[in-house]
Symmetry: C2
């Protein structure tokens, strides 16, 4: 294997997977997904569907025990996910992570990916964080500064064997969709919504971001939403 | 909670725990241990005994799924652990990690510690890596360069909430023992040996290092070894 891709089943990581498959070929790519105690399984189902579409190996890790004491609203048994944009949530509590921030989740996922990638003799980890994720410190573990430090930690901690690649770290979500469309990414198979309904809710922070990213590109999101939003 | 201590039940992390308890008091310290698929449970038993001795909260995480495809000799069902010093193993394969290197283990453990520490509202993670661990690239994820990069990643990835403290990063193992003796660390409760026998083997890399660290201090290791080595 050449590359391990952190694959959540969402829009960004699926576009990331498409880039890795384009560069290395499906036989050299391993898609890694993580169950971290999230309220629903929709995104993991999407991650499997996407891996099957591209014909890449897929592995799901259960790291939910790490977050047992967290009060993050994405986790089972916690408060409801806010139906507001990130910007509005941040106005209410400036410079604080939003309630959907899973503590150091990307740090943990990338470290687990590095261990799994070393074991599978991969040379690269692909990771789909983009510019909007980190905006206003909503998700500090998505920032470019975090990515650079984590890449350095992986380089040092593996004796230079492994490199972290974040192709969208300087790109906004609309730019990710633009690349994905040109790569033919099957966005109808992906899932972004924080809720686990039959259709995405169209109201939570991540649905709003996704809808805007398609709208900016003048394209209709192929997913059917709970109500019609665009 | 103020501090989370990564506690393996070994000599270094137990000395680290003693330092954290001295600084913050037992009520403010959480000891975190990890099962990663290792061949025996002796060190986890020691980690529990040490936490009970200090009266600190203790949690054990199972992260063994991450290493399922690794061929590291510390893991269940893999080749035997070499009965040679690290130096000899490194002569045979210069600049390669030794067979007891668990891929990016410290990176994974520190990242999991950061997630758990954020959830428990801790401000510090204590981590017992020391100067000898990294010597000759046997364990690249114990080096000072790795520690600095990982500390930066944690700072950036948590919005500055959390700091990684590695009190022995510039100290050799003999220096760790010296500090531990002055702190009254109960070394009779700790376990370092890679084998899971009734007594430590005295022959594997970590037994050899431990015996030397006590010998340099002119002190007898309180553990009884399989054969008499000092």
């Amino acid at each position: 294997m050449k590359a391990l891709v952190l694959s959540s089943g969402g829009l960004d990581s699926t576009t990331c997977l498409a880039l890795a498959v384009q560069r290395f070929g499906a036989a050299e790519v391993l898609a890694l997904s993580v169950f971290y105690g999230q309220k629903h399984q929709k995104e993991l189902q999407s991650a499997k569907a996407v891996a099957a579409y591209y014909g890449v190996a897929q592995q799901t890790l259960d790291l939910s025990a790490v977050f047992e004491t967290s009060d993050c609203s994405l986790l089972q048994g916690r408060a409801a996910v806010p139906h507001e944009s990130y910007a509005k949530q941040q106005q209410a509590a400036p410079n604080q992570p939003v309630s959907t921030y899973v503590p150091f989740r990307n740090g943990l996922f990338i470290a687990a990916a590095a261990s799994a990638a070393e074991a599978a003799r991969c040379s690269y980890i692909y990771y789909g964080a983009h510019l909007d994720d980190a905006a206003g410190n909503a998700y500090p573990d998505c920032s470019a500064a975090f990515y650079r430090a984590m890449n350095e930690a992986i380089k040092e901690g593996t004796g230079g064997h492994l490199k972290l690649v974040a192709p969208f770290i300087e790109t906004d979500k609309a730019g990710v969709v633009k690349q994905g469309i040109s790569l033919g990414v099957p966005y109808e198979l992906t899932w972004s919504c924080y809720e686990g309904g039959d259709k995405p809710c169209g109201q939570c922070g991540t649905c709003r971001d996704r809808l805007r990213a398609f709208a900016v590109n003048g394209i209709k999101d192929p997913l059917q939403y709970e109500e019609e939003h665009i």
